[in-house]
């Protein structure tokens, strides 16, 4: 499906930050819900044919989400988010990490600092994501964790993602 919603992707190499800005055709509470409720998040967070499966999620400051990215062969890559700040419907921040299924952090892998902003614009909602890495090469390590294969396969497959669509 083609749409005319704005998307901007940029990388600030001085601060090792990836910035993504995207407009969504829904009101702010709905978009906020899609980003913060595990049952909705699991429907879109993983690039096809990977699936996101949340094991536990406590969406509050100091809370944590533990989830797996599950591949087509059933392989699991576990990750977590530690929520550091939440301003309902406007902003939340978290620190991500790779971990095992019990939430033990993999210290070999880099963590990055996420800031997600929501703002209303006419009938759409703009989400601004910034992901700050310690080093630019950390970005590469993260993509090497298995998302790359998933997303390449995904490109032709979009319709299948949408079983609930009429």
């Amino acid at each position: 499906m083609k749409n005319n919603l704005l998307m901007d992707f940029s990388v600030d190499r001085k601060t090792n930050t990836v910035n993504v800005i995207r407009e969504f055709a829904a009101d702010q509470p709905t978009v906020w819900a899609a980003w913060t409720q595990p049952e909705i998040l699991d429907h879109w967070w993983a690039p096809k044919p990977w699936k996101s499966r949340t094991k536990s999620m406590e969406f509050k400051e100091g809370g944590r989400r533990i989830y797996a990215m599950v591949g087509p062969e059933g392989e699991e890559h576990w990750a977590m988010a530690d929520y550091t700040s939440i301003s309902p419907k406007d902003n939340f921040k978290f620190l991500d990490a790779f971990c095992d299924s019990d939430g033990n952090i993999n210290k070999e892998m880099p963590r990055s600092d996420w800031n997600v902003d929501f703002s209303k614009k006419n009938k759409t909602t703009t989400v601004k994501i910034s992901i700050k890495h310690d080093k630019l090469e950390d970005l590469e390590a993260i993509i090497a964790m298995g998302f790359k294969e998933g997303f390449i396969m995904a490109l032709g497959n979009l319709d299948e993602v949408l079983p609930t669509r009429k």
């Binding site: 499906m1 749409n3 919603l5 998307m7 992707f9 990388v11 190499r13 990836v18 993504v20 995207r22 969504f24 055709a25 829904a26 009101d27 509470p29 709905t30 978009v31 819900a33 899609a34 909705i40 429907h43 879109w44 967070w45 993983a46 690039p47 096809k48 080093k135 630019l136 090469e137 970005l139 590469e140 993509i143 998302f147 790359k148 997303f151 995904a154 490109l155 979009l158 993602v161 949408l162 609930t164 669509r165």
Partner: protein, 108 residues
């Protein structure tokens, strides 16, 4: 030894060297002056950049001039393009989810 291009840009001094030699060829001595550092320290960075195949070198008399191979830097952009597509894919999925969510959430 062939290194990964991301090792080149992981270090702030090396990034600064790349910026300088992108516009004109420079000798290690001239670079060392720019950074108030020793010729040895600059040589180490140049060695790494060379192993990343980012440098053109040209000998003029006893001096070696280094200049950036611009094409090589494009690899980074290509890689980032993949990352960008991953986000696009994810958001296209979210668009569909939002269409389905709308009726429910209006009750709130």
């Amino acid at each position: 030894m062939k290194r990964d291009i991301f090792q080149a840009i992981a270090d702030p001094t090396r990034r600064a060297i790349l910026v300088l030699i992108a516009t004109h060829a420079m000798t290690p001595n001239a670079l060392a002056e720019q950074f108030h550092t020793t010729r040895q320290a600059v040589s180490k960075h140049i060695k790494i950049l060379n192993e990343c195949e980012l440098l053109n070198e040209e000998k003029v008399g006893r001096e070696i001039y280094y200049q950036l191979k611009i094409d090589k830097m494009k690899e980074i952009d290509q890689w980032l393009e993949q990352f960008r597509k991953q986000w696009e894919e994810r958001f296209n999925q979210l668009d569909q989810i939002l269409i389905n969510l709308k009726p429910k959430n209006n009750e709130e």
